[in-house]
Symmetry: C2
Subunit: 339 residues, 2 copies
Amino acid sequence: MTAHRLVVAARPELADQAGRILAPIEAELAATEALLTSRLASDVPFIRKTGEYVFAGGGKRMRPALLLLCARLLGRRAEEAVTYAAVVELIHTATLIHDDIIDHAELRRGRRTVHSIWGSNLTVLLGDWLYTTAMQMALAHDNLRVIDRLCDATLRMTEGELLVLQRLGDPGLSEEEYLEIIDRKTARLFAAACAVPALMAPADERALVALERYGRSLGLCFQLVDDLLDYTASEDEVGKPVLSDLKEGKLTLPLLLALPRLDQAARRKVENVLEDRAFTRVTAAEILELVRREGTLQEVLALARRHADAARAALADLPDGDERRGLELAPDFVLHRTA
Amino acid sequence: MTAHRLVVAARPELADQAGRILAPIEAELAATEALLTSRLASDVPFIRKTGEYVFAGGGKRMRPALLLLCARLLGRRAEEAVTYAAVVELIHTATLIHDDIIDHAELRRGRRTVHSIWGSNLTVLLGDWLYTTAMQMALAHDNLRVIDRLCDATLRMTEGELLVLQRLGDPGLSEEEYLEIIDRKTARLFAAACAVPALMAPADERALVALERYGRSLGLCFQLVDDLLDYTASEDEVGKPVLSDLKEGKLTLPLLLALPRLDQAARRKVENVLEDRAFTRVTAAEILELVRREGTLQEVLALARRHADAARAALADLPDGDERRGLELAPDFVLHRTA
């Protein structure tokens, strides 16, 4: 069931791969779901109702799965790992909920966003509640380095989203700045999810470096593919409209790489979309054509592949076995996903 | 300087009292300010800028002052207490920032609110950043019970604000529900601020019960007075318009107690304001007159006084000295403040 969730809307041939990745941690993933559900049983009905809505809405549970695989790889206690798996999913969810308010997003994973149903006000507070609940849950196993790590990742994510907002609609965003943003916005929580098991007793500093590197590279790969999908996937596949990033004023790498190579007329088209925050004067198809012509989708995919390779390479000195094979397969899964 | 801050806009005769309360902790309060400033030195310019704006804007630093007094009373380490004092102020500030977004408040302490200058989107993220920074700072002294306590108070505050929003404009709110709301929204963080020192090593379970009771009673007293001030203070004094609670649809105790005693015409006036969220069909003076006529302002003040007495009584078994005298004076200060 969890394997199935991971490949919802993905290519059927990936189902086997997801199954192989998740096989060692099926029980822990189920325990993570149960823990999430039990923690949402607040005495405030709104939290129960919206919490259930959010967590029933799918989500690939990538971060919990990575954390649980890394914990098994290092032979760490499953019960403690399950707690932290739930915590990273709560942090991730709180971030999504606040980001969706900010982006005025109507859809997430093909379903209506929380704020579009219940309004922004209650939803800001739901996000706050989820963040704090995550931190409180993380206290259960008395490991301050783990909590510090999770706080740090959360701060970097918030800062990443702040940077996104401040550079919204700015075609002068450099590739370096873009990479800094996706590092904070996405890669740091992936890195934390993978690094946390190395901080669980007994802390393993060598594994910490390796798993952090793995998670960060995988996170960068994940976000690059995410940004590619905004150009290449259909609305049916990703559950939100194509080129929705650009429509919100968010310039991602495929277009950032293309921009300096475009002639003035073509560049003007991009600027029109950024000004209008809509495809009124220019169609989405025209923008897609510009990007395709410059070949930058391939360049971004190549960069994502290099990060996938770096992720796999980081695992070289870790114990061999099903868990490591699962972690080695994950970058391929991320590269080939279509949603 | 800190004594002065505490009585900004308050009655001059209270300045002496504030000075007496704060005398034992002047150095720690200054250290708390320095710590707050240093933690806002983020590499994201927006956080630095808005953080400075927020913390330069005054605020009475009630919660840090209470925490520091309780810590000195129990003889706990000043350095650790200063950390937690900064943490409670960060949590309080994050809450205010999110609440002001939700309430569309334009003014706070006579200055423009953060979101009214920088917009709601960036401000949601600033609040998130402050909450997480508070939690991360709290980790420094390796005391999980303290952090758990602070998480708990934060969750209750968020739930309190959720309950406020859900019952907005509802004249059927009972006195019991109102008290439940102000307990969560305000009293729990006061209780945590006072209880934290008893959780610092060596934990003192008897002092914990006493200081928690003190803080909770004082917090209830504080919020009752706050709700009274919305009826009795001028805009100059409180830095926001009079009857702004009612205009936002928030029914507080003075009116809740009066409502069942009003005749239909009078009740209709209140309902008009709740429907319009403005004083268009009914003036603020008419509502004030209704409440004055029913004498409920005196009843609420009497209740606030009972909580002030309960706060003082809770201190009976704690060590005598300047700190305890400061804590004993605090309820009077809260009762007589005009802002």
